[in-house]
Subunit: 470 residues, 2 copies
């Protein structure tokens, strides 16, 4: 494709996306495709000869769109929001169009330095001190893996330079809460700790980690000759957005050499609001923090911000230095390849830079506050409605609810919950994620898609009330 | 930004990229920015209020462009090519504009199923049997980490479900060649094996792993009570594109339970040409293969294809199944979150799908053959020029050269090499990557940027000859 053809087809793609976003509300939120439907509509073999680009674009309507669940839909209340605001989308368009790769600072200085500046802007926006340095990763899952590997290496004084985990005389142990994200366990397993060395610390009535239970678990392991290595605390758990007491947890680990990682993947965006910063009070006592601008804040996926206090340690664990990557600038610049797993890196900072400039801090704050208001309104409606219950505190924008008809309990209640939620999702009117809380199914309503206004929450609430009556 | 504003600004971004690509040849290939220059031109604090988008776009010219080394430039001969062909770029634009996330099949069925189909197309294109199943990862570095973790878990019969690497009585060992990519050592260290348990097997005169030396190293470790776990063979090493003898290596590990991972990050694209497939003969005896469509083939970065023969094993190692990710379709569809580290996934298949359809298999083959021809032409020129040497076989499109003036040897020769290469890079006329081979610096000339025609290679050769005379 020549640049002139790209100009023509590129305008068509932009128009297609503009139309998609403008009319997204008319689509069913959840895809109504059956398993295998998309696959069946595609050729089994690749084309030998080039196809006209118009045909490729046509398939966006014919094949792709019916197979999408629309995350940018104003009645998307599933999982957590993943807002790709259109200003940020354009930053990503520039990145892909440039096609530069950040193997080293010299391989594109702007890629490194804009990342350094924008992650520092974000640090200021969420109120972290200047003791922190940031880097963009793909996801919080990967960042938590980095954190646990860094914890492992600090605790063992760089066992990787010797026999690795295989050479350690006593097992290292990782602690997290029973409501931590599944990626924490996954990271601990991938990093080699083993399931026997993961502790799920008990939670309080608000589904937050109990610092006293953590202290006891650490003491137990130490007494048994094991080595407490890392704690992952969560600011805004996935199930209920529970807030682990970071300050109390930081006090438990202070001076012990145990690594404290704060998973603020969801709640991190809220820290742009000063009134929310109590949620991670004590975060300065942590060793690493992750937050996802690609969730609620609006950076196009994938854009996770990972912050560390000891960047030198991260680089020592992650760095490689083959001759073909060495350049004269190495001593005086940041080579972000040594801040994560992949060697090649996209110019991801552009989408964060565009987002912050196009919205301004005040614009972002206004939108976050709108969503908090909408969630509180919804919470109050559910709490006041007979037969409905709000099951967990609502510090952020996610409301956990259950419809509990008289006489229904146990597995029958589970069936009722899953059934109305599934019907609602299949109807296309809205998208919600069911989840298990205290052993019983409930439904999470996660407010905060960029296009979601009060009326969409009202429509959802009406649809939910209708659905449980069927 | 409203959809209508996006339409307007999106057209402007497309035009900017079209102009950038059309006129890229007039730019110096390597950025002439000094360390800190880009950073110094940016505000230290984020903007409180929204900025007009026109100002953001202006900074692309004022701040970003001068800080880029242009990977899409026709005289970019550094590292390996990373071609973001414009058809593929548009596939990525659709992905970012849609903003859907592949947490689960249900979260966007098309995201999963188009990935299933396109990775299968690519499998057919490179001549792998249908025993392989593919998934898109960000980079080969990450894929190699997955491979070594999968090796570790197969060898230990899923130690992750017990005490992890910490509970194993005997150390597991990883083997690779002394010219393997730096990401192999890095992956082994991150996976917990430890440097003491990585073997760099000796190479032959063509810089390829010696299968007999591998067999001897494995026997030594086994005799010493260690557990040989994984071999990483490379098809197209980074320094010289050397070709490890995969068939011989596969014979060494056959029936031993040792995992064989083939790193064909670079050469994998060449397998689209039947005449190149001898390079990974024996690959069907491997357990995993990685190749990078985002290198020479032309898929916009990041798009790495990772293939495994036992997908069930990969899923067992990587899967998590929290309630909030469970859906009714789970039993009958692929949930690619269980095929890698990140939970959230972009719709990356679109850029591969667009690439293959826009170019057709024949179009891709023609371009690859053009580059092979250009590299062979360049090799013949260098080989025939007095004072110049070609230092390694040229099976692909990378030529390793040194200018060796009479009387110059040792460190003085190194200084000469680095000096002329550095001058050439700074001049902006072309971009080359120096590297160490057999203990001495040389210069890699990696042909294959999409816009690179014979005349650009001729210009490079003239510039090199002029530069060494200065």
């Amino acid at each position: 494709m020549t640049p002139e053809e790209f100009r023509k087809h590129g305008h068509a793609v932009v128009d297609w996306i503009a139309d998609y976003r403008a009319r997204i509300e008319s689509r069913p939120v959840m895809s109504q495709a059956e398993p295998g439907q998309v696959k069946a509509s595609l050729p089994r073999h690749p084309p030998e000869d080039p196809e006209p680009f118009e045909g490729v674009l046509k398939d966006l309507d014919a094949v792709v769109a019916p197979g999408l669940s629309h995350w940018q839909h104003p009645r998307f209340f599933g999982y957590f929001p993943s807002n790709g605001t259109l200003g940020s989308v354009l930053g990503d368009y520039v990145s892909t169009g440039l096609g530069v790769i950040g193997l080293a600072w010299q391989a594109s200085p702007a890629l490194s330095e804009v990342e350094e500046v924008t992650t520092d802007w974000l640090r200021q926006m969420v109120g972290l001190s200047d003791a922190w340095q940031g880097v963009i990763q793909d996801t919080a899952s990967t960042s938590t893996l980095l954190a646990l590997i860094c914890a492992r290496e600090r605790r063992t004084d760089y066992a990787l330079s010797r026999g690795g985990l295989q050479g350690e005389p006593r097992p290292l142990v990782v602690y997290t809460s029973s409501y931590a994200h599944s990626s924490v366990d996954k990271a601990a397993l991938l990093a080699g700790f083993g399931r026997a060395n993961i502790r799920h610390v008990a939670c309080d009535g608000r589904f937050a980690m109990r610092a006293d239970a953590l202290a006891a678990a650490i003491a137990d392991d130490a007494a048994a000759g094991r080595v407490p290595c890392a704690v992952v605390a969560t600011t805004g758990t996935t199930t209920t957005t529970a807030i682990d007491p970071v300050a109390d947890i930081a006090r438990v680990v202070a001076g012990t050499g145990i690594w404290l990682h704060v998973d603020a993947a969801m709640a991190g965006s809220a820290m742009v609001l000063p009134e929310c910063r109590w949620m991670w009070e004590g975060v300065e006592g942590a060793d690493s923090v992750v937050l996802n601008p690609h969730k609620w804040l609006g950076a196009a996926f994938d854009c996770t911000a990972y912050y560390v206090r000891d960047a030198q340690h991260l680089v020592r664990v992650m760095s490689t230095n083959p001759s073909y990557l060495q350049t004269a600038a190495d001593g005086v610049v940041k080579n972000y390849r040594d801040w994560g797993i992949p060697l090649g890196r996209r110019f991801r900072a552009l989408k964060l830079w565009f987002l912050i400039r196009e919205q301004g801090v005040r614009g972002l704050q206004a939108r976050l506050r709108r969503d908090l208001d909408n969630a509180r309104w919804f919470e109050s409606q559910v709490a006041a409605a007979p037969g409905w219950r709000v099951l967990a505190p609502v510090p952020l924008q996610t409301v956990c609810v259950r419809h509990e008809p008289p006489g229904l309990a146990g597995e029958a209640l589970d069936r009722h919950t899953q059934s109305w939620c599934d019907r609602l999702n299949r109807s296309g009117a809205a998208y919600l994620t069911p989840a298990v809380l205290d052993g019983r199914w409930m439904v999470r309503v996660s407010v905060g898609a960029e296009q979601t206004e009060r009326r969409h929450v009202e429509q959802l609430w009406t649809a939910m009330q209708n659905e449980v009556r069927r």
